[in-house]
Structure formats: C-alpha cells, structure tokens
Symmetry: C2
Subunit: 361 residues, 2 copies
C-alpha cells in the first residue's frame, strides 16, 4: 500500500513461470499485437503508436522526452512534485531551452501560469504530470484539455506522465489532446515492474520523424521500436516474454472487469480509506477536486515521529505505506491503492493497525 508497486493480480503471478519465448517468435509477435490493442482503451487512444518500453516508468518518460525533444527545443514543464522535477531534469539533459512553471507541492496545478508560459515561451514541447505520485494531486480532465489546447495553439506537442494514472483513473489522451503519454506496469495495471506502456499521437510522431538529428539513445529510439512492434519485427532488443505475458494477462483481467467498473471500484475503496484516515485524525492533504484515488496523502499530526510507525507497519504488520518526499517529508504519508492491493480488506487492515500505532489524541 505504498505509492507503487501495487500487488500483482494472482493470475499474473500464475503466468510468470511460463517457459521463455524468443523475442522474434511468432507467438511473441501475436502477444505484442494483442497487448497494443488491450492498451489503447486504457490510454483512451486509437493511435497505433502504442507499445511498451522494456524499462520501468522512468524509462517510459525517457523514451517519450528523448524522442520528442531536440537540443535547443523550447520546452515548458510544470513542477509541483518529485516527478515534475524529473521531467525538467530529463528535458535539461536533452539540451532543452527550458521554462519551468513551479507550483506548491500538493496544490492545484497552476493552469493559468502554464498557459501564460506556453504563450510567451512558444515551446516545441510541453510536459506535465497527470497524477503526481509524490503529492497525490491530479490534474483534472478539463485542465489537461486546456493545456493541450494552449500547446497546440503554440505549435507544441504535449506529453503527460501517466505512470500513476493509467489503469486507475480515466485517461483519454485522444479526447483531451495529449500527444504522448507514458505509464508503468506495476501500479494501476497490477503487474510486476519492468515495462512502460507509452502512446504517441500522429502529431507527436510527426515531430519525431522530422528530427534534424537522431535521439541520443538507441535503446529508447521510437523509430527503431516502431519497426520491432510492426509487421516486419526488425530486431531491436530482447523483449522479455515473461513481462510481456504478465502484462497481457494483467490487461485481460482489467478488460474482463471492465475499465469503467475498475475505475469506479477504486473510487469506492479510496473513499473508505480517506474517511477512515480522517476519523483517525489524518486529513487529506489535497483539496477535493484534485484528489486521486490511487494515492492518498494524509497530513500527520504536528510533531509526530512518523518513521518508527511506518517501520513497524512494514516489519510487524506487513503493510508498506510511503513517506513524504521533499518539502512534504515528515509531514505526510502516502497510502497507495494500486492494482490488486486496492481492496476493502487491505484498507481495514491498515486502519486497524494505524489506530493501534498512532498516539492517542
């Protein structure tokens, strides 16, 4: 119940020991094609440039930015938490002419500030975090849409970190106008870490194809990966059939439940958690419209020595929760409801343990 990984679904665990399949085996090709189709609705896209990167979510970020950003490109990045900071750091390393729009950790996204920055900086790329794992604050659909409109108005593409959102909350990249999104396998998808699903719009792909120089990375080169994921199956790297089969199984489980039913179930479990925490004197950090169900950041009582409690939860109760990061260290806990961990009985077990371990008020 930390901010990721969540627990695997038991059916995912059951397929992991399947004998390896070669990365160029026709069975592997069929698995990849099917995975693409199962991923599209989770991203809310019809783009055929939807595939997985053989790396964790951070590799998905890098694949998207490394291909989209050329040295000297003007880039606008929003930073209100750790992962916004990572977007900025990646962009800087890629030689971007970077404009950072900062916001308070846990506060609503500075939409007007971002729109102003887009209009004045005239970027080629805008990058935002959909669901900021370090704070538990999410950007709302209409806000993402207005950022996408502003980006497109300036001739830019817009990329979103969806590592914590994909599979857990509505994500509609086509409808909202997001040109690139990247996720991970180990949070909302209830699969082990190791794969990063990504999707690119035609506009993003056109920018990649129009590069003056190839990206500095061969491993994350999307024009090469596109050929491996296409009918010609040109060798690029040894994709792991173990992880591919696990992700495919996880996606089957999700589609059997129904994507919308899954989102609704998660909202319900999260409400139980948020209400239970509030009753224990642990109020939510984030104002209601920007809360996300899969990470609940709770404010700790003034002066609480939180680390020993977190440690006892992990080592004695077998429950992992996350610490605060950066300016929120020592001030919040982050409780995750991800993948197969998002269950009423887990919430109840945590609340019972917290009640026992928190000092009496």
């Amino acid at each position: 119940m930390g901010p990721g990984p969540g627990a695997m679904h038991p059916r995912v665990a059951a397929v992991l020991g399947t004998p390896l399949i070669g990365h160029l085996d026709p069975v592997m090709g069929a698995l990849m094609d099917s995975t693409r189709e199962l991923l599209k609705p989770l991203f809310g896209t019809r783009s055929s440039m939807t595939l997985t990167i053989s790396a964790t979510g951070g590799g998905g970020r890098e694949a998207v930015l490394t291909n989209l950003i050329e040295p000297g490109d003007r880039v606008v990045v929003e930073v209100r938490g750790y992962f916004g900071g990572r977007l900025a750091e990646c962009a800087k390393r890629l030689g971007a002419d970077l404009r950072i729009v900062e916001g308070e950790w846990g506060a609503p996204p500075p939409i007007q500030g971002l729109v102003d920055a887009i209009e004045s900086h005239r970027p080629a790329v805008v990058a935002v975090v959909h669901a900021e794992t370090s704070t538990g604050a999410i950007v709302r659909p209409e806000e993402l849409k207005s950022l996408a409109d502003a980006a497109h108005g300036a001739g830019a593409v817009i990329a979103a970190d969806c590592v914590t959102s994909v599979g857990s909350v509505p994500l509609r990249t086509d409808a909202w106008g997001l040109d690139a999104a990247f996720g991970c396998s180990q949070k909302g998808l209830a699969c082990p870490p190791g794969l990063a699903p990504i999707t690119l719009s035609d506009r993003a792909l056109a920018k990649v194809r129009a590069r003056r120089t190839p990206p500095p990375s061969v491993y994350f080169d999307l024009t090469l990966l596109e050929q491996y994921w296409g009918p010609s199956r040109v060798y690029h790297h040894t994709a792991s059939s173990t992880l591919a089969l696990a992700l495919h199984t996880a996606l089957e489980v999700i589609h059997e439940e129904g994507i919308e039913a899954r989102w609704a179930r998660l909202e319900k479990v999260a409400k139980r958690l948020v209400d239970g925490c509030a009753a224990l004197g642990l109020p939510h950090l984030v104002a209601r419209p920007h809360r996300m169900p899969m990470v609940t950041p709770v404010r700790l009582p003034e002066g609480l020595d939180e680390a020993p409690i977190r440690r006892a939860l992990l080592l004695e109760d077998g429950i992992e929760i996350g610490a605060g990061l950066g300016p929120l260290a020592g001030k919040i806990w982050r409780i995750g409801l991800m993948g197969d961990s998002a269950r009423d009985e887990n919430v109840d077990a945590l609340l019972t343990a917290l009640e026992r371990r928190l000092p009496r008020r």
Copy 2:
C-alpha cells in the same frame, strides 16, 4: 536454442510468482547487496561498482557508453558483426569522434588494426564485443588484454560487450584490464530478459565522475544508480523485485554448480553439438581458437532454402535456432547453448530433427 534467450532454470521459474516487494523495502536492499556479491565473480572483478540496469542487454550497453562517452570524445570501436555495429551507432549518437575498425564477420578480431587505431586516434574510450552473437566469434583473453594495455597506454578506458559471454565462458575483467563490461540476464545466467548486469573499474568510474556535462540520460545515469545501490538507497526508479529475485536465484544456482564447472560443462555440450553438426555437413563458421561454446554458427550447404527448415524446427519440433544476420543471412544458422538450454538431450533432439529435415546429400 537460438542465440538467446536460453531457457530459465526451473528454480528461477519457481520464484517468479513471489509477491512483489517494494523497491525501497529492506528485503529488496538485501537482495541487491547479495546480487552484487554473486555477480562479481562472474565478471571476474572485485569492483563494488557492479550492479544491474533495469533494462535488457542493450540497456546495459547504453548505460556504459552514455556514462563513459562525452560529446567530442574520441572513441575507437571494433565492428565485425551486428553488435559491434550497435556499439558504433551508440557512440555516434552520443557525439563521439568515432574511429571504426572493421573486420570480416566471423573472422578473428583485427587486434593489430585496433592497436594501431588506438595509438593513432588517441581515444578516450575503446569499445569491443567480447563474444559477437551475430557471428559466434569470440575475442581471446590475451587479445583482450593486449587491447586493454593499448587503451590504457593511450589514456583510454576500454569497455566490452559481454552480453553473450557472462556466465557462459571465463570473464576476468580485473585481470584483463577491462574497465567496463555489460551483460544480460537471459543468456548465460538462465534468467528471463529484463536486467543488464554491468561492472565498472575505478578508472572508468573516475572518467564518469570527471564528466564536464551530465549524461543525456537520467534513467541510465550511473552516479544516480550508484546512490540507489548504495547504503543510502536514494530512490532512482522502481526496480523490479520479480526480476531481482529471479536473477538472484539464477546466480545462486550458478554458484552452487560452481562457475568453472559450469564453463567446463558448456564446453562439453558444445563439442557434442559442433561434432554432430559437422557429421551432418554443417561445418563451423569460425576458426577454432575464436569459437565460443554458447553460439555455434554453422555454414549451410550452397543453395539451401534455409528459412522453411528453421520454421519447421520451431513450429513442428519446438526447437528455435537463429538465422544468419547481415552478410551471413542465408549462409549460416546460429545455434545457442544458453542457460538451462545447454543440455546434451537438447543437442541430440536438434541433431535428430536436423538429420530428418536437411536434404539428403
């Protein structure tokens, strides 16, 4: 029995379904520390900068080169096959002033040509492929040692692609003077793909620390990864406990058998394969001193329509072997003896199937 992946060891398959552990869990930390110690003897190193990259072997290559090469650095790369070509492509993308020393695919490495190039080009980095998977030709220890001496004489560091060698044949980076080496999990280590073990010498690490600019990649940034693998466990990415546990188990299996015993066993199985193929009219491509046991490249009879035979082996006999690549396409097959696939009974099954499927001479 292709040129990778090999089969997993059954004990590796058995641990894959273990519930996920968080990437910052103390149990994960202990697993990482132990993995490092188990990896060192396989690389033949005492360097504590030995760890795994959360990506496939290609990600290991990129981690090593992206950290070692700065834009404008002079680099000498040896190309006698597909993976030498990848080293060159990566170096080029990183802005290297590149000198490529070419050799014939499958021929012995052009050691003198490389030494001459090192002495004239005065590189900062030399990169070679230890065991070239695309041809089945290996560089011998004394040859690697002479290249390392030449590199050090020129003030360069030398990196070796050990993707196909680590775990299958002797590898002694410290004794040979190799400053960086990268491998993969799915060949000699009998584990699923998804992790790339790497090691760096103090000399290589000093070059990384002396960089004028940070590497373009955050995901592969070794100074950040070093902190995650060190006692402070600073978060860098969500390392997969599934793959970490699989690799640790695979390494335990290897150490129980004994590294030298494993190398010797592989040599014996490979002899059975090479002799059996020769008896079927499929001679080895590579002259004896540069053969490697884990990839046997066999010359095909003139005019053989090889693809249908390979396809029937895969789809009807359940045996995967590899095609020739580049100038060797249609001219050779590549038969792998990797990980748990390297068994007498597999060799015999393949030879029997080949005898049935090859046209009568």
